[in-house]
C-alpha cells in the first residue's frame, strides 16, 4: 500500500508545510505519492517531483481546481483513494478544510493535528489546547490524518525526479465559487517556518507601538507573531496570531512581549526551543514556561534590546 500526501500550493509554489507533511509520511516507511490539485500548476508539479522520497506525483490540473475548493477536491481524492492506505495533508487551514470532507465521503474517521506517527495505525495528537496528549489507534481500513508541521522534519529536495502521472478527472463545483483573496503582505519569513519569532500582546497598546515588535523581528531576521488580544485590538491582522486558534510555531527562539500567557496562546508556542518573556507583571503565567524572563516596562526594554542585538 502507499501513502497519499495532498500538496498545498498556490499554483506557483509548493508550501513549506507540504515538505513537512512528506517528512511525516516518510515515518510510515511506505511508498509516497503526492497529489497536486490545481490549475496551470506545472511549476509546483516540477518542484514536488524533486522532493526526496517521492514515488509518484499525481497531477489534476484543470481550471475547475484553480482555487482548490473543498467540494470538488474532496470528491477527486475519494476517486483515487482506493490505492492508498493512508492519506495525509498538512494541518493548515487548507488541510483542515479539505480532509474531513474526504473522510466523511469515505466513511472513515480522521486524526487531526498529529504530532507523532508511532506506527501504521497509531498516532499521538494534542488535545485540550496541548494540555494533554492522546495516543490514538485508528480502526479504519484507510487512515486519514493532518500532520502538524512544527512536529516533523521537512523532506529535502533531491536530484532524482519522481514520475508524473496526469489524472484526467474534471469534477465541477456547483456548490461554491471563489470570489477573492486578500493576502497579508509580508517580506519577513513565514511565521510557521521562521527560526526566530517575536510576538506582541495587548500591552503594546497601539498599532503604532507594534512597530517595535516588527523592528526587533527584523533585527533578528525573524517573523512577527501576536496574541489574540493584540489581533482583536486591531494592532495586526489575524494571520499573525499564535495559539490554539491561530498558528502553531516551534522556532528556535520565541520572544513574547507584553503577552500574559493564556493557555490558548501557550498551545501555539510552547514547543519553541528557547522562550523569552518580557512583561511588566512578574506573576504573568508566561514566566512559568519562559527560559529567560525579564520583568519591566516593555517600552524601556524593547528599544534597548533592539539596539543591543
Amino acid at each position: 500500500m502507499t501513502v497519499l500526501v495532498i500538496a498545498e500550493h498556490d499554483n506557483h509554489r509548493l508550501s513549506g508545510e507540504t515538505h513537512k507533511a512528506v517528512g511525516a509520511a516518510s515515518s510510515l516507511k511506505l511508498p509516497i505519492d503526492v497529489l497536486v490539485i490545481g490549475y496551470q500548476c506545472q511549476a509546483v508539479v516540477e518542484e514536488v517531483s524533486h522532493v526526496e522520497g517521492i514515488n509518484q506525483v499525481l497531477v489534476a490540473d484543470n481550471s475547475v481546481y484553480q482555487h482548490q475548493l473543498a467540494e470538488n477536491s474532496a470528491t477527486l481524492i475519494t476517486e483515487i483513494a482506493a490505492d492508498h492506505s493512508h492519506i495525509i495533508a498538512p494541518a493548515t487551514t487548507f488541510g483542515k478544510n479539505l480532509l474531513p470532507r474526504v473522510a466523511a465521503l469515505l466513511d472513515v474517521g480522521m486524526l487531526s493535528d498529529v504530532v507523532t506517527i508511532e506506527n501504521a495505525d497509531t498516532v499521538v495528537r494534542p488535545i485540550y489546547a496541548g494540555n494533554a496528549l492522546a495516543r490514538v489507534r485508528s480502526k479504519d481500513s484507510k487512515i486519514l490524518m493532518t500532520t502538524r508541521g512544527s512536529a516533523f522534519e521537512a523532506a529535502q529536495m533531491a536530484d532524482t525526479q519522481a514520475e508524473q502521472k496526469l489524472l484526467d478527472a474534471s469534477i465541477a463545483n456547483t456548490l461554491s465559487e471563489f470570489v477573492e483573496r486578500q493576502a497579508s503582505e509580508s517580506e519577513r519569513p513565514d511565521l510557521t517556518a521562521a527560526r526566530v519569532v517575536v510576538s506582541g500582546g495587548r500591552a503594546l497598546g497601539s498599532k503604532d507601538n507594534f512597530a517595535l515588535i516588527e523592528k526587533l523581528a527584523d533585527k533578528l531576521g525573524g517573523a512577527v507573531g501576536a496574541s489574540r488580544a493584540a489581533v482583536d485590538a486591531g494592532f495586526i491582522s489575524n494571520d499573525y496570531q499564535v495559539g490554539q486558534t491561530g498558528k502553531i510555531v516551534a522556532p528556535e527562539l520565541y520572544i513574547a512581549v507584553g503577552i500574559s500567557g493564556a493557555i490558548q496562546h501557550l498551545a501555539g508556542m510552547k514547543d519553541a526551543k528557547v522562550i523569552v518573556a518580557i512583561n511588566s507583571d512578574a506573576d504573568a503565567p508566561i514566566f512559568e514556561i519562559a527560559d529567560y524572563g525579564l520583568v519591566g516596562d516593555l517600552f524601556e526594554i524593547l528599544p534597548e534590546l533592539i539596539d543591543s542585538v
Binding site: 480532509l99 474517521g109 494540555n131 490514538v136 456548490l175 519562559a290
Partner: protein, 258 residues
C-alpha cells in the same frame, strides 16, 4: 429560512485541565463545564441572522448525555427558538456527530447549519466539514464574515451567501450555494450574554429529546484512545535582571542569536 446550530458541552476554557494518573483521560469530575466558545459564536450568528430578517427559526442541537441540556437551555436563553437533544454517550467521534446532525438536517431541511470551527476539548476541527460532505452541501469553514444580500435569492432563483474565511496568509471570500454548512472562527462576532428574564423564559421553550436509533444512526467508534498523557513539562527558567544579561544568555548560553 431555518438556521440550525450545533453546540457542544466542554470543560470551561478557563479551567486548567488535569490529566488523570491512570492515563484514561482528563479529570472531568467536579470541573466547571460550559458551551464551547466557538459554538457560542455560532449561536450568536444565528440569532443575528434572525434579527436581520434572514432567519425565521433558530434551532440548537447537542449530542451527549443529559447534562448537555444545560448548554441547550443557555442557547435558548440567548435567543434560540427550540432545542434538540440527541441523547447518547458524551464522548462521540466527529463522524458520528456529523451523521446524527445530517439525519436531522435531512428530516428538517434547514437552509443553513452553523457550527463552531472546533471544540476546545478534542481540538478536531472536523464536524462541519464532515456534515457538509454527508449532506452534499457547500461548506464555509473558519468564517469571519457572512453576507446574505437581500433575501439571499439571486435573479436565477438560486439562494446564495458570501462567506469570508480566515485562511493562512489572509482572508478568502467564497460564494456558497444555499443550503450550506458554516463553521465559525473567533472574529465572526462577539457573543452576547443571557439576561435573567431570558434565562427564565428559556425554561419554557421546547426541548425535544431524540436517540440515535430514532434518527437511524448507528454510533460506531472508528478510533480508540489508548492513553492520555500529560505533555512534557518545560524545565523552570530564570529571570534576568537586565537587557544586557538577556542578550548575553541568548548569545552565549543558548546560542540562539548571533
Amino acid at each position: 429560512m431555518k438556521v440550525y446550530v450545533a453546540i457542544k458541552r466542554v470543560i470551561d476554557p478557563y479551567v486548567k485541565v488535569r490529566v488523570k494518573n491512570d492515563g484514561s483521560g482528563v479529570e472531568t469530575a467536579n470541573v466547571k463545564m460550559s458551551m464551547n466558545p466557538f459554538c457560542e459564536i455560532a449561536v450568536e450568528q444565528a440569532i443575528r441572522l434572525r434579527e436581520a430578517g434572514h432567519a425565521d427559526e433558530v434551532v440548537v442541537i447537542s449530542a451527549g448525555d443529559a447534562t448537555c441540556q444545560e448548554q441547550l437551555r443557555t442557547a435558548l436563553a440567548l435567543g434560540a427558538d427550540r432545542a434538540i437533544h440527541i441523547e447518547c454517550d458524551a464522548v462521540t467521534e466527529p463522524l458520528s456527530v456529523a451523521k446524527l446532525l445530517a439525519a436531522i438536517a435531512k428530516r428538517d431541511q434547514p437552509e443553513l447549519l452553523i457550527l463552531g470551527k472546533q471544540s476546545i476539548d478534542t481540538d478536531n476541527n472536523q464536524v462541519a466539514q464532515m456534515l457538509s460532505a454527508l449532506l452534499g452541501y457547500s461548506q464555509g469553514t473558519f468564517a469571519s464574515d457572512i453576507d446574505i444580500a437581500g433575501d439571499g435569492v439571486t435573479d436565477g432563483g438560486q439562494r446564495e451567501l458570501k462567506v469570508t474565511r480566515e485562511v493562512d496568509g489572509g482572508l478568502e471570500t467564497l460564494q456558497l450555494t444555499i443550503p450550506a454548512v458554516l463553521s465559525t472562527d473567533l472574529r465572526l462576532n462577539e457573543p452576547r450574554y443571557a439576561s435573567l428574564p431570558n434565562i427564565m423564559k428559556a425554561k419554557k421553550k421546547p426541548l425535544d429529546i431524540l436517540t440515535p436509533d430514532e434518527l437511524g444512526v448507528a454510533i460506531e467508534n472508528h478510533q480508540e484512545i489508548i492513553e492520555v498523557m500529560a505533555p512534557a513539562q518545560r524545565s523552570g527558567g530564570v529571570k534576568v535582571s537586565s537587557v544586557s544579561e538577556l542578550v548575553d544568555k541568548l548569545k552565549n548560553t543558548s546560542k540562539v542569536i548571533g
